[in-house]
């Protein structure tokens, strides 16, 4: 009997090995479908296990921590793994179509390599969410970076190569910074396991330095303003399914690690100031990213800049969960809202953003370009895709009833409860700007074309993947109870003020 | 005392080499300096009682990386000719 936790990593890795080894023309489809199915089954098993019997932990190599590496799954891990599973398999369904141009007899790299790369990436995302070891997290982050860079280069365009190179250098700088922090933490605590480190006494300057280094590295990898410069080109120049994977899933992994460190390792007099700093950078990202999105003339660049803005909301969790120098919580009584709100934002953004990039992929396929001005007449030619883009936009704006609304409502509640009203102002302005760029984007779709133009047809299944993701991003706003119950299993945010 | 002197010298040379690798304008020269840096780094690891890392650094950092970088530098020269003032030509 292999634990569901292990299966969540093994299943995609087995699929990746097969996809790399077996000839693609015959085997691509069965392997891809099999790997998605097996991974989803593992995710389901893990979810029901954690749901029914609480947080899980297992030792690897037969050596309990600190000597060995431990895997651990609590509610937050499972939440992220389910998010990755749902979004990942719908992107996979789209990719099955995207990389199956049967008229081409050759086997070009992008079709040959997408599945091994994406499956390794999926396995290592799960590995991050399950890891309890800060060095192991470093290794998994490296795997993710390299897989992501290779996926960007698959499109083969010169600008994609430049973007991938810049992304690679930025991400490596982030990794090195994180690794230095790991070294400092190990020298301070003599252990690498997150639980062991969290249980020890807080250790002053070396630990604060470690957190500063790790937070800088992880923020660079998450593309927090002003370290976001690499994101728009990298995310917009890749092929549509790759853009969706990067924007919806990959940036969340480094943010997840930062949250784990924030709650597990970091405490002390500087905490409040650091929290405010991270929240301020997040706010700057919200305004700046949305402002830049307003100015874009191409659909994919607009969506990519929107990611910069949406990442900003995630960082509002830090000021709302910080401890004041006096020791009391800045937002005592509202921690639950802050944590669930930000987790929910990660989920609804993943769904909405994947829907938008897949929709952009359809537009690119049909119109041959993703210039906004070329999208005339889209509402009649591609009603399903237009609808998908629109409702994904609704969730991004945070209009009720949608996942985005639920998330922002919770964050606003926490901010008001904590007396930090200025974040509410930022969220409101951000929401207005978001509405602005969504309307600018959709405006072209409803203008009728000047002259009838010859376009490529789009088949139904690919439009449905984007639609399903967009619908989910709205629907998750209707059912909050189960996700919230899941999130608190195993007390992933140790300062949760549960009733 | 000799050991300390050796270590200080090593640290100084590493710093100077690292600086030169970054600031040298000639690409090929920079690559050669980088290989030298890798070899000195291997010695530094030995001094730190980490022979395993020293071996890997010498083989990968100086050896394999050296081959790849030299090859790339050569290829760049073949395609574009020399670029003595690297910073000014990245117009592409």
């Amino acid at each position: 009997m292999i634990e569901p936790m292990a299966w969540c990593i093994l299943a995609p890795f087995i699929g990746a090995s097969l996809a790399f080894l077996l000839p693609g023309r015959v085997w691509r489809r069965p392997i891809a479908i099999g790997a998605i199915g097996a991974t989803l089954a593992s995710v389901w098993m893990l979810t029901s296990q954690v749901w029914n019997s609480g947080a899980q932990r297992m030792d690897l190599s037969g050596w309990p921590a600190p000597l060995g590496i431990g895997l651990a799954a609590d509610g937050f891990s499972v939440f992220m793994i389910v998010m990755t599973g749902v979004v990942g398999s719908l992107i996979g369904a789209y990719a099955l179509w995207h990389y199956s141009d049967l008229s081409d007899a050759t086997e070009p790299a992008e079709r040959r390599l997408f599945w091994p790369l994406w499956l390794i990436l999926w396995g290592s995302l799960n590995a991050i969410y399950l890891s309890s070891d800060i060095f192991n997290i470093y290794v998994a982050l490296e795997v993710i970076t390299l897989a992501a860079v290779a996926l960007i280069t698959l499109s083969g365009k010169a600008e994609a190569l430049v973007a991938a190179m810049r992304y690679l250098l930025a991400a490596f700088l982030g990794s090195l910074s994180y690794l230095m922090g790991v070294a400092l933490l190990y020298a301070t605590h003599g252990a690498l396991d997150l639980v062991i480190i969290a249980d020890q006494e807080r250790a002053g300057l070396p630990e604060v330095g470690a957190f500063a280094l790790m937070a800088t590295g992880l923020a660079l990898k998450t593309a927090l303003f002003p370290m976001h410069f690499w994101l728009p080109p990298a995310h917009s120049k890749a092929a549509a399914p790759v853009s969706a994977i990067l924007s919806a899933l990959v940036v969340k992994a480094s943010f997840y690690v930062l949250l784990r460190l924030w709650f597990g390792v970091f405490d002390g007099p500087a905490m409040y100031a650091v929290g405010i700093l991270l929240g301020t950078l997040g706010s700057a990202a919200i305004i700046w990213g949305a402002f830049q999105a307003l100015r874009q003339m191409s659909l994919k660049l607009l969506i990519a800049h929107s990611t910069v803005a949406q990442i900003g909301y995630l960082f509002l969790i830090f000021p709302l969960t910080a401890r004041r120098p006096s020791g009391e919580l800045a937002a005592a009584g509202w921690i639950t809202e802050a944590c669930t709100g930000v987790s929910y934002h990660a989920l609804s953004h993943a769904l909405a953003k994947a829907a938008m990039f897949l929709g952009a992929g359809v537009v690119l396929h049909v119109y041959g370009s993703d210039l906004l001005t070329n999208m005339r007449g889209m509402s009649r030619r591609l009603p399903i895709t237009t609808f998908a883009l629109a409702i994904a936009g609704v969730s991004l704006m945070g209009l009720p009833p949608s996942g985005g609304f639920a998330a922002k409502w919770l964050i606003v509640t926490a901010a008001l409860g904590a007396g930090q009203w200025w974040w509410v102002l930022v969220i409101l302005i951000g929401g207005l700007l978001t509405a602005g760029y969504i309307f600018l984007m959709l405006r072209w779709a409803f203008i009728s074309e000047d002259a009838p133009i010859q376009l490529r047809p789009a088949n139904m299944p690919i439009q449905l993947a984007a639609l399903a993701l967009a619908l989910l991003s709205v629907l998750v706003g209707f059912r909050l109870e189960e996700p919230f119950q899941l999130l608190v299993i195993g007390d992933p945010f140790p300062i949760f003020d549960l009733p | 005392m000799t050991a300390l002197l050796f270590d200080v010298l090593l640290a100084l040379m590493l710093t100077v080499l690292a600086w030169r690798v970054v600031t040298t304008r000639e690409l090929l020269q920079s690559v050669v300096l980088f290989i030298a840096y890798g070899l000195l780094m291997a010695i530094a690891w030995t001094r730190l009682d980490a022979p395993d890392i020293a071996l890997a650094e010498a083989a990968i950092g100086a050896g394999l990386m050296g081959v790849l970088l030299l090859d790339t530098a050569g290829e760049l020269r073949r395609r574009h000719g020399w670029r003595s003032e690297g910073g000014d030509d990245d117009t592409a």
Binding site: S17, F20, A109, V143, A150, L184, S369 | D52, G63, L64
Partner: protein, 252 residues
């Protein structure tokens, strides 16, 4: 564009470069100060897992602590690292536009001296690699070092124009590249099915299993290094790139 514009632009770029150097320098200085301050405040005395790793060494199947960490205590990390190497090759394949070495130009140089030297060195490098692999059980060495030395032999063959990996089949190359990753995968599933913890090595047979996994990892690492050298941009026949770009244009 006039000459004047060009000068202006160059001047602006120089200024920007100077600003960047100043910013990078300030960042490096701040980092150095932070590290020095943090290191000075580190707890005194031996801390960490070195002692415990040494104490359990008898149960790991090897006599060298570093190998024990890499292949036993923290074999999961090493598995992911081997995955990183596999990804590196896939990235190279992605850049070349195909998961194969088919359009690699045969190495052009056939210098007699180089050929003679290669004949002399290849057996020695192979022997050294085998020795390093074996040495990992007792002393610094093991799969990574052995793999790089063996990979250097591959690079040497390439430089001297001797056909090697570039002439064996597609499928064979992919198998050689993946066996290291697969070895860990099989070990992970097999140990768990045998009722042990995942990747747990029973003390009696740990030494043999480690040697086997390391041998397969060496093969993959060596192939990876050799492929990295063979698939360098210069080795790609230009038509392959051009054809790919044209196809891209047609599709978008």
């Amino acid at each position: 564009m006039t000459r004047h514009d060009a000068t202006l632009r160059r001047r602006r770029r120089r200024a920007l470069l100077r600003v960047r150097i100043v910013v990078a320098g300030a960042g490096a200085l701040a980092l150095a100060l932070l590290l020095v301050a943090a290191v000075l405040e580190l707890p005194e005395g031996p801390l960490g897992l070195a002692e415990e790793a040494a104490a359990q060494l008898a149960h790991t199947g090897v006599d060298h602590a570093v190998t024990a960490v890499l292949l036993n205590y923290r074999s999961y990390d090493t598995w992911l690292e081997v995955g990183v190497l596999l990804l590196a090759v896939m990235a190279i394949f992605a850049l070349r536009g195909g998961a194969h070495l088919e359009n690699v130009r045969p190495a052009p140089r056939r210098d007699p001296l180089l050929t003679w030297l290669t004949r002399l060195l290849i057996p020695m490098l192979t022997l050294t690699a085998g020795y390093l692999l074996w040495l990992g059980k007792f002393a610094p060495g093991g799969a990574f070092q052995a793999g790089v030395v063996l990979g250097a032999a591959g690079a040497m063959l390439r430089l001297s124009g001797t056909p090697s990996l570039d002439r064996i089949g597609d499928v064979a190359i992919r198998i050689l590249l993946a066996v290291g990753f697969l070895a860990f995968l099989v070990a992970a599933v097999a140990t768990r099915l045998a009722g042990l913890d995942m990747l747990e090595l029973p003390p009696g047979r740990a030494g043999d299993i480690i040697l086997m996994v390391e041998t397969l990892a060496t093969i993959s690492i060596a192939t990876t290094c050799a492929v990295l050298v063979m698939a360098m941009p210069g080795a790609e026949s230009p038509p392959a790139i051009a054809a790919k770009d044209v196809r891209k244009e047609a599709r978008t």
